[in-house]
């Protein structure tokens, strides 16, 4: 409290060394501790960042990565410890102060203005104005935006509205935004979650360019392979403490994993193949204008079919169509050998088809409701007698699936909105399981979750297939596709370009099928 009061006065006229003299360390955190009532989020954390380096931070969910970032950006103030930017001690009272010191951050979920254009988003808050009339120089802004976009070799129209963009493109806009502010320290928090391999490579090439220019980049990720590729140094955080920091050359994947979880995870993708049963789902020449065409494949009991492809290839659209959210304009769908018309999700569910969407809040869960109510949402029929809900029955069913999926919360009554991402995912799955889905379409099921939860979800997928459930797994993570699928389908701009068995699959082969268009 006192520190805040003093610092506000002293450091309000904060100035940061912008360019010029050589500095020892771009950023240095010394002995940082952060306490929230009852929890110690960070213990005596020391961290530093050099000019022109990519320093990665990895750790499980809850390790303290977000808190650390929030302290660097000024969103939170540490209880103890000091922060040095370009060797000068600073105290950030708010995020604005950290901007002034050249710190910019990009997060997993882009925080953009959906109804404004790309250029407006990029220059929001620092638009150039005519010094006399104070009006915004729009032409310059659109020109500058075009220039920045071009310098990164992307195809974006600065006048396009952000809401028309896909995940990856929104992420790009965020990066361009940071570039436009001449950030010296760029924080990337799980930037690759919604990107496919090609887009990740592209992001990395930009990161390397920035590194060459002397920018210091803090790269936070769960994805060890990416970290090993892009980072110069890696720091492992666990339970709020720094477990270790080392140069990439001295580290390897296994060592990192064991540092992160404190145990050896040698079975990363434990796919145990089940003997496939009868065909549950068959799709013939499915077509929807502008989304996909000529899609034919089948799905058998106990199988996991991986659907690979770039973002925008039409996989999600295909999933939604099979689930009845959209109607196919051509082709047929067969369930258990009989042709069906899936006009809406309710019919799909009655046939045993369920769809778990990419972003859990949007389609899957009602965040204001508790776990029990979310789990029983699709099966209100089963828990209703004469129009009235049988709460005991409801609770029993919810409890059953709560335990099966090992959902972590302080009770069945906890509001889903306050659960962690991984647990929300589990509630989503529990919901469909309770509805006796036999055909699960999982759209990016382990996006943005930590190593432990990922393993749990994969184990769950294995167990489900042992019970005869068929899974269509849409994933942009090649190792997951190769590791967990029995068969692999590759979609490319709306058509199926490759179908192969897991034994014949290679990352290169799949990638090729995903990006090369005839």
């Amino acid at each position: 409290m006192v520190t805040w009061f003093l610092s506000y006065g002293l450091f309000n006229k904060l100035f940061c060394n912008v360019g010029g003299n050589r500095v020892e360390k771009l950023l240095r955190l010394e002995n940082i501790t952060k306490r929230f009532t009852g929890t110690l989020a960070l213990h005596n954390v020391d961290f530093d960042l050099n000019e022109g380096e990519v320093h990665a931070i990895i750790g499980e969910n809850g390790a303290g990565k977000s808190t650390l970032i929030k302290i660097i950006t000024g969103y939170h103030q540490p209880n103890t410890g000091k922060i040095f930017v370009e060797d000068k001690e600073v105290i950030f009272n708010d995020t604005r102060s950290s901007y002034k010191c050249g710190i910019a951050a990009i997060y997993q979920e882009a925080s953009l203005f959906q109804d404004l254009t790309i250029a407006e988003n990029i220059y929001m808050g620092h638009q150039e104005v005519n010094p006399v009339t104070k009006s915004i120089r729009w032409r310059k802004i659109y020109n500058d935006a075009s220039a920045l976009i071009k310098s990164l070799d992307v195809d974006l129209n600065p006048r396009a509205l952000v809401k028309s963009l896909g995940f990856a493109e929104k992420q790009l806009v965020e990066i361009i935004k940071a570039l436009s502010m001449n950030a010296k320290i760029l924080i990337m928090d799980e930037p690759t979650s919604a990107l496919t391999s090609e887009e990740v490579d592209y992001l990395f090439s930009i990161t390397k360019k920035l590194r060459e220019q002397g920018t210091g980049i803090i790269f936070i990720s769960h994805k060890i392979d990416e970290v090993m590729e892009i980072a110069d140094r890696v720091t492992v955080l666990r339970d709020g403490k720094i477990i270790g920091t080392d140069k990439k050359e001295n580290l390897n994947r296994d060592r990192l994993i064991s540092m992160m979880v404190g145990r050896n995870l040698d079975n990363f993708f434990p796919r145990t193949r089940t003997k496939a049963g009868k065909t549950l789902l068959e799709v013939k020449n499915l077509f929807r204008a502008g989304e996909f065409k000529d899609i034919s494949f089948s799905l058998k009991e106990g199988e996991i079919v991986g659907l690979a492809g770039l973002v925008g290839a039409g996989r999600t659209e295909l999933g939604r169509t099979i689930f009845g959210v959209n109607k196919p304009e051509g082709g047929q769908i067969f369930v258990d050998g009989k042709q069906v018309n899936i006009d809406n999700p309710k019919i799909a569910l009655a046939l045993g088809i369920a769809y778990l969407s990419e972003s859990r809040g949007e389609y899957g869960l009602i965040l204001q409701m508790d776990i029990t109510k979310n789990i029983t949402l699709p099966i209100l029929d089963k828990v209703t007698h004469f129009g009235c809900l049988n709460k005991t029955k409801e609770r029993k069913i919810a409890e059953e699936y709560y335990n099966i999926l090992d959902i972590r919360s302080y009770g069945l009554d906890q509001m889903v909105g306050s659960l962690s991402g991984g647990n929300q995912q589990k509630v989503s799955i529990a919901k469909w399981l309770a509805a006796n889905a036999r055909i699960l379409i999982l759209d990016e099921p382990t996006r943005g979750v930590d190593v432990g939860t990922k393993e749990a979800v994969h184990n769950l997928m294995n167990n489900l297939t042992k019970e005869g459930i068929a899974i269509l797994m849409i994933s942009s993570e090649l190792p997951e596709i190769i590791g967990m699928s029995d068969r692999i389908l590759v979609m490319n701009t709306g058509i199926l370009t490759k179908e192969l068995d897991r034994s014949e699959a290679s990352q290169e082969g799949i990638l090729k099928a995903a990006i090369i268009t005839k």
């Binding site: 965040l367 209100l380 129009g387 809900l389």
Partner: protein, 338 residues
């Protein structure tokens, strides 16, 4: 073990929004009571409770519409239309049994609500726009139907006046009706499937669609119920004041919104309880009553209403930030545990 459960239950209760409203209510009662002891008399409380009862009845309707993500701005007009219509019928046919009049009032309200519901669900017009329009249309009908003449005290039959003055099982009729309505809807919203669907539609319309809940049907139902409740309130209102004007109930829908907001109903939909609503209505009733005792003019009451809504929302925002922080911390604890 049982003791622990009770403690958990208690701490669960305390954390809830409704408990905060309850505390506020107690504080206001004490404050006003100390200042003006007349406030605490049985007679005053009877008036207060009757006033609040009518508010509870319409607020339940309003709560349901807000919970589905909409709103019903026509409540005041529906109340007036049904009240005026029944008033005229009473004047022309004074021998009609009051229960029939109550039924007619409810039916008129139901009709108005159905029109709202159809426009919203079939016509796909936003509830705000729809009920804003019907607010004026129904109000216009009131003027038309009454030929702009009031129904005054003298026109009221004893039987109808008795609605507001009589007792059932020792409790005033109106209070009794409110209790019954509250119980019915408490059960409906908490234990009946359609009630659950109301929360689902408001919480995440897309997710509700995914599981086959038809938004149109739920909306139609909700506006029909709101209309019916406003109709019920209509005859209770006119019986209580023994007067029907073309301006009766003007702005009452906003009072209902205030009661909802104070009671913890989220303006964004998906959240709200009957208990909270009752407490909210009581708080508002107490404030209005207190203002009357202090002798404040009628038109200030509207300002107070606005102020109360504002304060309640500010309180909510501050509170929800603190609750979210707390939940985030708890989540951290759970993920750290290995």
């Amino acid at each position: 073990m049982a003791n622990n459960n009770f403690k958990n239950y208690l701490s669960g209760v305390i954390k809830r929004r409704e408990f905060a409203v309850f505390i506020v209510m107690v504080v206001i009662i004490l404050a006003v009571g100390l200042r003006n002891p007349t406030f605490l008399t049985g007679e005053n409380w009877n008036d207060l409770l009757i006033y609040s009862s009518i508010l509870i009845i319409v607020s339940i309707g309003q709560m349901m519409t807000i919970t589905t993500g909409g709103i019903d701005l026509s409540i005041g007009s529906v109340l007036a239309l049904s009240g005026m219509s029944v008033g005229i019928i009473m004047r022309e046919y004074p021998s009609l049994h009051p229960l029939i009049l109550i039924l007619i009032s409810v039916l008129i309200g139901l009709g108005c609500g159905t029109v709202n519901g159809l426009i919203i669900s079939k016509g796909n017009v936003h509830p705000l726009i729809t009920t804003l329009a019907t607010l004026t249309i129904y109000r216009g009908l009131v003027v038309e139907v009454s030929q702009n003449k009031w129904i005054i005290y003298m026109d009221f039959t004893e039987k109808v006046k008795a609605i507001a003055r009589g007792n059932i099982f020792g409790i005033n009729n109106i209070i009794f009706i409110a209790i019954v309505v509250a119980l019915v809807f408490y059960y409906f919203l908490g234990y009946v499937r359609k009630g659950r669907e109301i929360y689902a539609i408001g919480g995440n319309p897309e997710a509700a669609k995914f599981v086959g809940i038809k938004q149109g049907n739920v909306q139609l139902l909700v506006y029909m119920l709101s209309g019916a409740l406003s109709g019920l309130a209509g005859i209770l209102w006119i019986s209580r004041v023994a007067l029907v004007q073309s301006t009766s109930g003007l702005g009452y829908e906003m009072m209902a919104v205030a009661a909802c907001v104070v009671g913890g109903v989220s303006i964004y939909g998906g959240v709200g309880t009957v208990v909270g609503l009752i407490l909210g209505s009581l708080v508002l009733g107490i404030i209005i009553n207190a203002l009357e005792l202090i002798g404040i003019a009628d038109f200030w009451k509207m300002s107070v209403q606005g102020l109360v809504i504002l304060l309640a929302v500010i309180f909510d925002t501050v509170l929800s930030h603190r609750v979210l922080e707390q939940l985030r911390r708890q989540r951290r604890v759970f993920n750290v545990k290995k």
